[in-house]
Symmetry: D2
Subunit: 284 residues, 4 copies
């Protein structure tokens, strides 16, 4: 990959490990699961989700407070009120929090509340935002653009790293295609390729890729089997009542069942899932 | 198009006319040609281009001073020095100037020098930038995203208009496809569709669509024949020496020849090209 | 284009002219319009269409009797009965006829009735069919595959020509993309590219590209403006009653109006439309 | 899926099991691996491959004797001589054989030699071939078209089944996209969707999807993890000497290593790999 100086293995052979907290690290042998709703709606909603997911177990909580929406008239997110909810839930349940940053002006504010700043697909090549995030104090979750090539994706990470922030986690979330049966096409070939090219961790978002909840569990297991370092999955206490992306959110029960099913897949390729209750330990 | 309240014909039947100067207006019966290099390199380069293109004739000058580049190590544009070159050439040759804005922080500065602010494809859904441009004092040239749907494209314009700036010109510049023979696929069906849906003007960028200079003239004529309100075309005094996009830049002579060829096509559909020397006038 | 030995200009500089009849030739200075319904339904339908279109004027009649349908339960075409209808209408109105061939076993039969054999998009790389058509006595209309590259398209023609039949006309009909606002994306860049690469004629099918009748006239004019040698357009006496593709068929009146509008566009690029009633002739 | 009458679960809840031989069945709890070269080159080549792969173990042998090639001047396959080689190797090593059928005229001949007839991507909607295969005595391996939707893919199988042959195995092999880093984009979402919609087995071809051998093992494990019923993988004793697709063929050793790695993944989702030597059995 020409021009990639910092994020490729040719530059560094040591796998980058990105810390979300003292306990939760992405890129090591343990697979991380991040869960939560598309949109932060209320404290009670987030509190319910966090308390249930904590025991799934998941390792971090997601929830959007600044939302990129196709229409200017669609709900644009709860903003600061949402950040305060995230902070409250984060502390009460001891769960690191990931949320999207859409503008340079939000970086400082979000950094005060969240443990990881997400760059959405529509901003993957918002180069001024990427440069500014190179100066941020928090790790970055960089989602692949709607039709970004593997090279463009890796080079977007290079923008952040070359501006000073080495803590970047990539996220494959599906690319656009001619078929609308699934919302996007999950490109696991990109995950495999990037694991070979780059020392940065990469996780998979099967929710936005599939757009249909019944496809998510199988795609999650596939992602782990091919080497992804983690998953970020939408879930909601009452999916059908979600203010956005209702069709793709898992229920709390589906989420817990999914997490349980990941452990044997991870084990099959020599890894493990964070915090999985392992039979042998239970026996001992 | 659900949710489009301001930019669709259902809301207003009067065609929007966007003024670049007292003389140059986009969206009326006269077709506008904007030309210039991918990147502002030097005053002598821009002065040579402007003096030649003025008589082509073209109606406005383009030139990038802030450049979105896949690699952080590629030339990022001349910045303020480039803006000063644009301003100097603008005044000397009485040509309106269009240049790209990549960040909210640049809006005020660029507005002081340029007559129209371009939003590049990678920023088509940079919603915070769009909202801020709704407060800008200058017209906006909004390029279609690399894989944006027609609905997303129109709704991006709605962001700008709904935040206060009605002077938006859309620009079709090709979408991504499976074939790399051309750089992108010029989607003239989108131009036709948008002319029917929206009262905003739409122009075509055949240079980034084709990526090969030998395809540009024919695609330009096709764009005019199907109703585009103008063209934005890359040209360079010495295309092979261009610092970027050399393969797709026309020479000054090719540009002049292209402009001459547009007039009969425009006439065939009941329009005319700005400033074209018309036979009947010559006769008189 | 590596491996293209017979269909590229490097092999032959003389433009191929394909004759549909003594009068109608594709690839010369005159632009050909082929019209007709998606599917041959009845003699009265075809007779009505032919009598009206003859004076539009169009130069050849299209109509499917063997239909490639996604579902095995959809109407598969009228078969031989349809061919007999085509033959009857062909003779009565002195109009050459184009219809699709889906199998080697149909070549001889269709050749007895039709003047040109169409290979549909789904069969563009049905190589055994292409080879067999190299032995056919009639010209071939080769439609671009749903996601065929320009190289694959040209090489599919090379299959036919290298097996003995030099009379091949290519047809751009749109390619698949992520946007379903239009049925496909009309790729006029491919038309321009192929005119430069190959000496074979190429026509455009705006009906299948757009999938919406209101987009067809503008796209037709664009196709002529960029150098296409003709058009193939779906029309129907009562579009809303068409057994297939009703949404994209023009009425007879719309077709006549479209044909009239093509002449000035053709003239603008130094060509003319077959049989157009030209003002200067009317004056003389 | 409207119109799908025979291949969907709404019509039949019992999973279809397709037999390649008395021992090898696709669609049951055991995962099948099919291996072999892109092209049958010689008896010694095929004999070497079969003897090595038999102990990998794989359950069936692939090898093309009629080859769909973009260029008419590329090697079109060994034809009948190749079939005789396949038959010889098939008998000597007791391995079922899969090979591609490109034309109706080849069905009878290939059926005399092979255990399964493959329909290539370019022929997925060659409806006359599909109908004829509905009358064939052998099972069909139907590969997804280059840009076929999930619905079109399933309906192509419906053509075969509705014409009398219930023994159809689908094969996901990647779809076209804008990125050429991988040859195609493996669409495992389609595999998951089809497993839910249809009772037909579906296998995955990671070789044509990836186009690069270093990506194949990880994608194979992902395919098994998300529910695919098997894999078809290109391998060659000396990949760099393969007459076609050299870049994507695994060596015999890589193939054996890959097969060994599949067993724990299959076990993780409650399945097993055909003939895998399982540790617990070895211990016992």
């Amino acid at each position: 990959m020409k021009d990639a100086k910092l994020v490729t293995k040719s530059q560094s052979n040591s796998q980058t490990i990105v810390s979300l907290s003292n306990e939760v690290k992405i890129g090591g042998s343990e697979i991380v699961v991040i869960g939560g709703p598309c949109t932060v709606e209320s404290l009670s909603q987030m509190d319910a989700i966090a308390s249930h997911l904590k025991s799934a177990p998941i390792q971090a909580l997601r929830g959007g407070v600044y939302k990129p929406r196709t229409s200017p008239y669609a709900f644009q997110g709860a903003g600061v009120a949402g950040l305060e909810i995230l902070a409250s839930v984060r502390q009460r349940h001891d769960l690191p929090v990931v949320t999207e940053v859409m503008a340079i002006s939000q970086i400082e504010e979000i950094s005060a509340y969240a443990d990881m700043l997400q760059v959405g697909s529509r901003n993957m090549q918002n180069f001024d935002l990427l440069k500014a995030l190179g100066q941020a104090s928090k790790p970055i979750l960089l989602k692949r653009g709607l039709a970004a090539t593997i090279e463009e994706f890796v080079m977007a990470a290079e923008y952040i790293v070359s501006h000073g922030n080495p803590n970047v986690v990539l996220c494959e979330r599906g690319i656009r295609s001619f078929d609308n049966y699934t919302r996007n096409v999950l490109d696991l070939g990109a995950v495999v390729a990037i694991k070979q090219i780059s020392h940065l961790p990469i996780i998979v978002d099967p929710s936005h890729a599939a757009g249909k909840r019944e496809l998510i569990a199988d795609l999650s297991r596939a992602a782990i089997a091919c080497g992804a370092d983690g998953l970020i999955i939408e879930c909601h206490p009452e999916p059908e009542k979600s203010v956005s992306d209702a069709r793709q959110a898992l229920s709390i029960e589906e989420m817990a069942e999914l997490v349980r099913s990941l452990e044997p897949v991870a084990k099959a390729i020599g890894r493990k899932v964070y915090g999985a209750k392992r039979p042998q330990l239970a026996v001992a």
